[in-house]
């Protein structure tokens, strides 16, 4: 009996084990027919199963865009739900082709773990929340306002630095705990509440009337979250990088999934290049000419993905802020496709 069981186990393991070659990730991805994408266990807006049990989110859309660029099929993605402990090992070991999992780009990770950050899909960082009725539009209007803040954290230091740098009067009400800070703000103890902007949004969604509060566009500390690939395969790095840039470029050029087909007829050379009507920018990447067209067609541009997953219309309710395009006051900026 034991023998047969061992045989079954071996057979199963052979069946389940997949292999990837280290060197040419693209070839390997093409060979297996899908992109293996590392995601979170479930963070609403970024990567989480929706009500149909399909992975959705900003980071998931990135993976879908990658798949669209390679296979012309945004669904050619398999998701691996990873804990924060195992994410980098999984990436280094080739279990996943790309890690798109609320991972903050930091120096130690970028340089010590054998991985490369592709870019910043989402600029997170400390932000401010105010009551809508106060009519404040920018953090620069906050001079003298009472700010609820968690004491002894970098939050406090960041805020102090920001106010000093902008010559604003800094007036804080300090608490030891996050919940208390929220409570104090809700009770009207202070005018402003500051913490990481995605947390701000989450807290706001818990308020009785979330719409009475707005999150200001300014972000004053840095938590750049972005996709990560294994270091050492430049071709794959370039694909990952330019997929991200294509999402931005499409938004900048006003190409969306809705109008991408009519845009094929556009006279704008930048659009022509993006959509592969003019020039061939796919081949150097190892992709087809219309790679960016497929991305936009199947996934949409950055703005669409943002609005769909974390934008103001969703329960997450995040304003674009820093994540707006450079020309709209944000810092999302892509080199041109040329």
């Amino acid at each position: 009996m034991q023998k047969t069981l061992v045989t079954i186990a071996l057979a199963a393991s052979l069946g389940l084990a997949a292999t990837t070659a280290q060197a040419a990730i693209l070839d390997d991805v093409k060979a297996k027919g899908y992109v293996q994408c590392g995601v979170t266990g479930g963070v609403p807006g970024f990567s989480a199963p929706d009500s149909n049990n399909v992975w959705t989110g900003l980071e998931v859309d990135y993976c879908r865009a990658l798949a669209a660029a390679i296979f012309n099929d945004a669904d050619a993605v398999r998701y691996t739900s990873l804990t924060s402990q195992e994410r980098f090992t999984a990436l280094s070991a080739g279990e996943i082709d790309v890690l798109s999992r609320t991972t903050t780009w930091t120096m130690s990770r970028d340089t010590q773990l054998g991985i490369s950050f592709v870019g910043t899909m989402f600029y997170d960082g400390q932000g401010f929340m105010v009551r809508k009725a106060d009519g404040i539009a920018s953090a620069l209007d906050l001079s003298g306002a009472a700010i609820c803040i968690e004491s002894g954290t970098t939050t406090e230091l960041n805020a102090a630095d920001y106010f000093a740098a902008n010559n604003l009067e800094f007036n804080t009400v300090v608490f030891v705990d996050q919940d208390e800070v929220v409570k104090a703000y809700e009770d009207g103890r202070c005018d402003v509440y500051t913490t990481d902007s995605s947390a701000l949004a989450a807290e706001r969604s818990k308020f009785a009337v979330p719409d009475d509060h707005i999150i200001l566009p300014e972000i004053i500390s840095k938590e750049p979250l972005g996709p990560v690939v294994r270091a050492g395969d430049s071709a794959w790095f370039n694909i990952a990088r330019w997929t991200y840039f294509a999402l931005l470029e499409a938004e900048e050029l006003g190409v969306s999934s809705a109008n991408v087909d009519e845009m094929l007829g556009s006279d704008n050379p930048a659009i022509k290049r993006l959509l592969g009507v003019e020039g061939d920018f796919g081949t150097p990447l190892g992709l087809t000419k219309d790679w960016a067209y497929q991305i936009v067609k199947l996934v949409g541009n950055y703005a669409e993905s943002y609005e769909r997953n974390v934008g103001p219309a969703t329960p997450i309710g995040l304003e674009r802020g820093l994540n707006a395009l450079w020309r709209d006051g944000g810092i999302q900026y892509a080199p041109p496709i040329r």
Partner: protein, 375 residues
């Protein structure tokens, strides 16, 4: 009566016990008010019940929002458990990300498993051997191909998409059926006279038993990729299976060893005197007796294993518990005060039913075979 001779002429008829030793009153007296202290304990117990039962009833049933309810009802001030949330997310809890149109496949596997397992568990049903072979050898293969697809025109469904109760059951069933033989081999190895094999088995068993399962799974998830040749990856489900199986087999080995030690020397000698080889001796004589001795321990291990499947969240599998937790965290549309509690309670009930069933079955078998330990 001082006179010696006495012969009873009429038998004393059995008469009903005095009212204070029988009937409801007696039961009450004996079980609830035997001594004043007992009475006090009874009253305190009742006070406790009066205190705890109504709120529990209200939470679970009274004020609970039934499966057809809406999230608004769940958000009411005094609403109880939000069963509507469970029923709306049930698919995820059972199948995880498994493609919805393909969910008939796990269903068939469930049905097949039940169909093969139930007769196996009922002692009276014949064809045990055939049944066991079907369940242990044919069923896993069929299930694997049915679930994974890729043959006979079935849509391939990668294991990353499997989840919920499906994964919990897969891991526990495979873990149970693999760790059992492995545990026996380890136990035999530990009893072996060959120093190298003995040392290895002891080292393996003791090492595994010394560390928490969570670290074994950590190894499976973080270190295994480092140990493998470059570019080789091992499926996550397989990793969880291997981790859980190895872990349980060490415990199983210790239980089996207990059984082996309980077998008198004479049995070994008798086996040897019949000219049986080592494996024949073990298979026909020693193991059947030893295993019978330790059924409770084995089942306890199975229960632990079943509960331990919840740890596979470490390797990123969405088993039942992790599926519930994921939905608790991410199903914003169902957010209410009791949503998370309801989710956990649901998972707890499912786990409880399985574990309790197993323990009762073990007690039943124990009584049947009448070999259980006194403890």
């Amino acid at each position: 009566m001082t006179d010696f001779g006495f012969v009873r002429a009429d038998m004393v008829p059995s008469k009903p016990a005095p009212i204070n030793t029988s009937g409801v009153g007696a039961w009450f007296r004996k079980n609830l008010f035997a001594t004043p202290l007992d009475g006090v304990l009874t009253i305190l117990g009742l006070v406790f019940l009066v205190w705890i039962v109504p709120p529990l009833y209200n939470f679970f049933i009274g004020h609970a929002v039934g499966p057809g309810g809406t999230v608004e009802e769940c958000r009411l001030e005094n609403a109880g458990a939000c069963w509507a949330y469970i029923s709306s997310e049930m698919e995820f809890f059972i199948y995880g990300f498994y493609d919805i149109p393909e969910q008939w496949r796990p269903n068939i596997v469930f049905a097949l498993g039940a169909l093969l397992l139930i007769p196996l568990l009922i002692p009276k049903v014949p064809f045990k051997r055939t049944n066991a072979v079907l369940f242990l050898l044919v069923f896993p293969v069929v299930s694997y191909f049915l679930l994974a697809g890729g043959v006979f025109g079935l849509k391939p469904i990668p294991t990353e998409k499997w989840g919920g109760l499906l994964v919990t059951l897969i891991i526990s069933v495979v873990g149970i059926s693999c760790s059992f033989p492995l545990g026996i081999i380890l136990a035999l190895g530990r009893q072996s006279k060959m120093p190298v094999i003995k040392t290895l088995c002891i080292a393996f068993i003791e090492l595994i038993r010394a560390v928490p399962l969570i670290t074994i799974l950590f190894m499976a998830s973080i270190m295994l990729p480092l140990f493998m040749p470059q570019g080789t990856t091992v499926d996550k489900l397989l990793r969880a299976l291997v981790g859980v199986t190895l872990f349980t087999s060490a415990y199983m080995a210790e239980v089996v060893r207990g059984g082996l030690q309980a077998i008198p020397r004479g049995q070994y000698e008798a086996g040897a005197s019949l000219g049986l080889g080592y494996w024949q001796r073990m298979y026909f004589i020693i193991l059947p007796q030893a295993l019978k001795h330790v059924i409770p321990g084995i089942v306890n291990n199975f229960i632990s294993l079943f509960k331990d499947t919840s740890l596979v969240y470490i390797v990123g599998m969405k088993d039942l518990l992790e599926a519930v937790k994921t939905k608790n965290d991410t199903a914003l549309e169902w957010q209410s005060a009791n949503t998370a509690t309801t989710g956990y309670l649901f998972a707890a009930m499912v786990f409880w039913v399985f574990c309790f069933g197993m323990s009762r079955y073990s007690m039943y078998m124990e009584r049947r075979l009448n070999t259980g330990y006194k403890r």
